[in-house]
Amino acid sequence: MFRFFSLLAVAALCSPAFGSSFTACPNEAFLVQDQPAKLYGVDLSTGSYTQLAEDMGTVGKLNAISFNFHDRFLYAWDYEDDSIARIGTDYQVELLPIKNRPNSDFYVGDIALEENTYYVYRRGSANHHGLFRISLDPNSADYLEAIRISNGQNLRYNIYDFAFHPDNNLLYSVASNGLLIEMSPETGATRELGKTGLNGTFGAIYFDVEGNLYASRNKDGLIFRLNPLASDVTAVEFAQGPSSSNNDGARCAYAPVVINEASKADFGDAPDTYGTSLGENGPRHGDTNNSLFLGAIVDRENQAYLSPESDDAVGEADEDGISFVTTLEAGKPAIIQVQVQGEGYLNGWIDFNQNGRFDDSEQITRDQSVTTGTHNLIIDVPSTLVAGNTWSRFRLSSNTGVGANGGVPDGEVEDHEVLLSSSTDTTVYYPSVKGFVTLAFEDLWPSVGDYDMNDLVVHYRTATQISGDTVTGVNLSGQMLAIGATFHNGFAIDLPGVPREAVDQSSIEFVINGVTQKVNPLEEGQTNAVFVVTQDIWNHVSPAEACSFYRTESNCGDSNVQASYSITFRFNTPQPLALFEDRLFNPFIFATEGFERNSIFSEPPGRKLEIHLKNKKPTDLADPALLGRADDFSNPDSENYYQNANGLPWAVEIGTEWKHPGEYIDLIEAYPDFSNWVTSKGKSHQNWYLLEKAVKPKLYREGKD
């Protein structure tokens, strides 16, 4: 409640500035260093910093700096004048004389949040040192009067800064031996809360509004984070900031540590088990000068876009610096090509054991010095890997010692999903490693459709793993791209001639939208291996607001692609390569159980209604009695399936990531060359489906005009 009230108070204070106080509770931290004093602004999330003032109007040092939430000025102990320095938005020192001034300088200080009072601390002599309170409230009777709370001999700990917790009005610090200390500002009494696992001089201690404590270590600039009220107070490395032998920091404890508009960072996009979001201390690269990055481009975000969202899909497609030249095969060398702009150090990890984390033993390159250009990285893939899809992370920074998590001031992070294989010599992809072909279905079968070819549009890719003249495993993947129908359809893939028993069921990895599915996609009651991606595509997607369908009606609202799928499996007995010559296999849709269909069906036909590409055979679960009904001219004796009297299909396969027609737009209106391709029997206009061949106004367009 108090925090809520405080935030309201912050909002109220954001009114126009008077004098030279700060206008709000700043997100950044302030760091004062050197003599004469210089002031820096530090983004705690990445450690990136900028110099705010070279000359603060004093020739001496400043220390014990603190942000005063009550008047929104910075205050510090001015060594030159033994006074309190007040600093506003011009970053110039205004000296305030102290009554009953102690005969000492102070480098530990903070201003309370519940009262307008500055607390300074120094361990040492009983006469000069101690814990003092100095009121900063001009209306108070003891304004600017130093009042000793405890003498310096009573103070036990060597600390170099402390900070008030945003909620409990207690002071916290990390001593040089790593102990977390809690101190009462009223008595100076202290309590040891536990070991942080750190050691060193922590010259700057900060809080954020969530109650996280940040400790900046002087010798290396590392910023650590911990929650002092948690049972485990072990600190984690959070960011790499500036180092200094003379270091003191302050920040408004009511401000969250966030990536704000002015200080965006480049994030990864692997699932959060790897530590990707800010909350999970994911990798963040600040924007100091934007001269160091992977590939040809980097962009920076306010937050991580976790898989199945992707950094590429937000802003610029900047995940372009890492290329897997070879597949990753157990026990074999692999080549990764890295494109670098600038000079820095490369670190990389691959989750070979698929435990959802980047373990220290999974680091494939460590502090490799790289310069502008292309670098061919040769790595040894461990023989003990867990086959299947996993994640990799690459970080480029001018800092060394960068781990898989935490912020750094510059550079870029790229997370890439990769496939690990156990025993494969050759992988063939259709159409390519990351490309898709498009399957477009009309779902009125056995009645003829309207040929807008968007009742169901699916992106589709197959990868076949070959060893000698056998196939050892397959990956089937894609996206549900559009639904221009209200019928409910399932989507499945049949591997013609491949026996169901040949699939090693323990090897099946079935993922939808980045989430591993519990259901076994290998369909029961089939002779062939048939994989059901979904019983009802509508379970995975929803139309945009004001749209009836999913991504087919132009200009009725934004709707991103919502459903990606991937099925990976191996065979328990390698299968003859001859069965896999058609790398399209036999993808099809089927009627979802329990939903009404065409009026020619008196009751929902359910699973027994299948719609395939032309001349692809129905599976064991299709009802052969449905063939030849209504407009369908299937003739199993001549192996003709799913075509009408004119030889027209209910489904087409298109050799690219196709831009499909808008709702009710005939295919020929959108792609005029389709007609010539068909009438030439495929001999001419073979690239009819490319975007440059389209009548663009006839295509589905995302978003609103």
Binding site: S323, F324, V325, T326, T327, P333, I335, Q337, T374, N376, I378, D425, T426, T427, V428, Y429, Y430, P431, S432, V433, K434, G435, V448, G449, D450, Y451, I466, R583, L584, L613, K614, N615, S638, N640, Q643, N646, G647, L648, P649, A651, E653, I654, G655, T656, Y664, D666, L667, I668, F674, S675, N676, V678, T679, K681, G682, K683, H685, Q686, N687, Y689
Partner: protein, 169 residues
């Protein structure tokens, strides 16, 4: 579904008598050079708003998909097969990529390895197999990598010149 049914009815109502083109001839398998440089006579599109009933079928642009006719065995799919044969006189451990997207520059080729259609280790410098390409692809880049850290050896395949086979020596 009511809306869709209504549309189909209206589509039928506006059907014009532009005869379907083609059909009849037994299909012959296309020679590679035919496919790459098709000598197709330009077809004059008929204005879709003024249906004509007297135009000869040979020059008719069909304006509705439902008016098309296709052979029974024309499958409306978009791929073709290319054979790959590698015979290197080298026992060095090597790796072969065949990829769709690449750029050439004075310093060499840069390849998009996300666009590869084949990735294989080369045992004793040899490989034989088949790849499947979509119909819009007429050029590929072949890269042979040695595990030395050096740049690979590149070779461009052009369907118009070499036909439906890739040979690497």
């Amino acid at each position: 579904m009511n809306i869709k049914n209504l549309t189909i009815i209206s589509a039928v109502a506006f059907l014009t008598a532009c005869g379907g083109g083609g059909g009849g001839d037994a299909e012959t398998s296309p020679a590679p050079t035919q496919a790459v440089a098709p000598t197709v006579t330009a077809v004059t599109p008929a204005p879709t708003s003024t249906p004509q009933v007297t135009t000869p079928a040979a020059t008719t642009q069909v304006s509705k998909t439902s008016d098309l006719k296709a052979d029974d065995d024309f499958t409306f799919t978009s791929s073709y097969q290319v054979s790959v044969s590698v015979n290197r006189n080298s026992q060095e451990s090597a790796y072969l990529n065949i990829c769709r997207e690449f750029k050439s520059s004075p310093t060499g080729y840069s390849v998009n390895y996300d666009s590869c259609v084949l990735q294989t280790t080369l045992e004793d410098g040899k490989f034989a197999g088949e790849i499947t390409l979509t119909n819009d692809i007429n050029e590929l880049i072949v890269s042979v990598w040695l595990f030395t850290g050096n740049d690979p050896i590149h070779q461009v395949w052009d369907r118009a010149v070499e036909g439906d086979q890739i040979v690497v020596n």
